[in-house]
Symmetry: D2
Subunit: 141 residues, 4 copies
């Protein structure tokens, strides 16, 4: 495991105590993992500020399942951007609403455009885009 | 369609022109749909500010697939909160990384805790939580 | 007032009722103003996604007032970026902490760099950047 | 300085190298300060999720300076919530627009309501709320 390094961080006792309290509440086993997550989160948003960054987007759509035409459109849209679509998951929320979770791969700028296009479709009542850098290859200890 | 209402909105020509430009870029067919999306988005975040709100969370986890112990833990965690878990989707990002998309149903406060617990697991390099009100029953025209 | 236009928006009664409830809670006098604010907010974030956009940043810094060296640094930093700094406001939070609110004008990318530089100074315990497009010239009715 | 503690964090070399690159770009002198800022930021948002938390809000308003009635209203609103208002800063953005930066002190839930009320006033074209915990008493090394 020669690719792991250990660094020292000095901080105020009060700040450390507050941090320990919150991370234990969130289920962290140790500080290293919690600090690594903060660092990864910061790097992730830095990377994604570049529209050319390789990314995977998770697009969450809520829509009325009676909107059969929309479902056809969604299918077509996914196929027309086939190179970017990895997979999709369909969930029945209740008697009226479906949730569709679609993953797209590509440059963050392009897949954002595709995702916005999906969300703007008539019948989609809620849409969210979640982006992760696809070069999220950091390992861990 | 007696459940549809039509309201009038007055706004500055310049503001309207700018709005038209951006929504056409995003693929909206008409202003009504774009304004409805803005309204739904605002309502959604208002609803979710209440920890007792019924919600569905989409939890996105990125992790190293060599972390076989983690995979067991993830499975157990999902089963221990079985009442809340709807489904999960597994995606191979590259030779090192997997993405797991898990949907949880329940009160927004509780499922947030469960989601944070999943994200805090060792081996998870990136985690995101996306919440939608499960009473997203607004229809559309 | 020939620069004002009136558009019609059709939406579901339930969605409209929910919207009316939340905006009256927030103090809006009418729907037009509330919808205009949603539209302006969307345009604003769209504009600011371009690092070349003209913007004004409000930088909020919290720091220990015993850190006299920091205060000197902050003053110097502001003067070294003088062309961008409009003004600054100093507030005594409590016996230990000061808040400094600094406004910077320029291209959003550049002033973001300057703001990050201020926040990264030793002694600054909390820092936030708020960006508004400086071409926020939309009028209203 | 017996109130300072030093902890060890183990992390992957690649992750550390990426972190070093981004924090040096942002002007950090050392990793400790950068990690402390990440921790403080996380604690701050955790604290503010409680509406009873003591906080200071920085409210940024952009509005047309011809709206003299609005200016009166803003002044009145500030005085009617006098117990919460610390100070306000007025900036001329251009020939049409003013920016008003108002700081409010109190419970995060209450000052959020006051801030929303300010933003919802006719004539305010852009409004933003920035909240910091007023018990931001963490010191630093």
């Amino acid at each position: 495991m020669e690719h792991i390094e250990r660094i020292g961080i000095s901080l105020d006792k009060k700040l450390l105590a507050d941090f320990d309290k919150i991370i234990s509440k969130q289920g962290y086993q140790n500080r290293s993992e919690a600090v690594r997550d903060l660092i990864r989160e910061k790097l992730s948003s830095e990377i994604l500020s570049n529209p050319k960054a390789h990314a995977v987007a998770v697009v969450v759509l809520v829509y009325d399942h009676h909107a059969t035409e929309l479902m056809k459109k969604l299918t077509n849209l996914q196929h027309s951007h086939l190179f970017q679509t990895i997979s999709s998951l369909h969930i029945h929320l209740d008697e009226h609403n479906c949730m569709e979770i679609i993953t797209l791969k590509g440059h963050s700028g392009e897949i954002n455009t595709t995702a916005e296009n999906l969300i703007s479709q008539r019948g989609v009542t809620l849409g969210k885009i979640h982006m992760v850098p696809s070069s999220a290859k950091h390992s861990h200890s």
